[in-house]
Subunit: 139 residues, 2 copies
Amino acid sequence: MEYQPPVGYVLKQAQSLLRLRMEEALAPVQLTVSQYSCLHLLRREPGASAAALARGTFVTRQSMNAMLQLLLDRGLVQRPDTADNGRALPATLTTAGADVLAAAQARVDEVESRMLSGLEQPDRNALLRTLTACVNALE
Amino acid sequence: MEYQPPVGYVLKQAQSLLRLRMEEALAPVQLTVSQYSCLHLLRREPGASAAALARGTFVTRQSMNAMLQLLLDRGLVQRPDTADNGRALPATLTTAGADVLAAAQARVDEVESRMLSGLEQPDRNALLRTLTACVNALE
DNA sequence: CCTTTGATGTCAGTTTCCTTACACAGTAAG
DNA sequence: CTTACTGTGTAAGGAAACTGACATCAAAGG
């Protein structure tokens, strides 16, 4: 009868470790994990507002606007100066942003691949499925 | 062909949501998630040093010492004033600390139970097993 | 014996993110 | 038309954690 850690603990452990490895992997391309998440989401949903990006990356819209300003200064993201509808300022990736994202993604993919290296395909599917069930149950 | 989110994203999502629900559940007993983790670990390993607790709860030893000071002030934790061997100050739960922990644990268990409510036992085992494999692969 | 290494506690400064609050734009309901 | 109501952007302040640095102690290692 050995000690069985709660699922929540292992979840935290896995997420912390993944974040650490991602930080290491993204350091060479000068991106934080949050910035990578932002660019990644922006590619999938071009024209998203800062508030929408914030919801998708688990930060507040204040943090997201600050982050967008940095990405804007580096020329990785575009944003109009004025809104033509409402107050939302739709953000899009620049060409440079897409390039940086591609380089970052390759590095992140490697980390994720490493994380899953001990699991066969059925187990990978099961992991994704069960995690999704957890998310749904907590919402 | 629908979009399949990366495992890392769902992992982050699950962990964020779990943390949020835990915060809500622990608010009535005046504990943060980190403080709960500290007490929890302290019960399993009485006499642990702040540095050891820090390693087990994913924070720095500076943060852990600050946290311990708060728990000390509330009388939930005991710590000798001087070290009899080395510099480590072994911390232990007080009776009050054990009581608060028990109340907190009941609430946290409810959250975890809710998180897993959509999964049968085999799936729960698979989740724990696959997550553990991820942790091992990233170390 | 002395030095080095590793671990612990602590101080100071910084960063990062959040909470609170407010102003503005569109939309729906009365 | 007026009135909420929701969504967005922005600013100010605070809370929590981190990084860097230093002093101390025990246990090897030369």
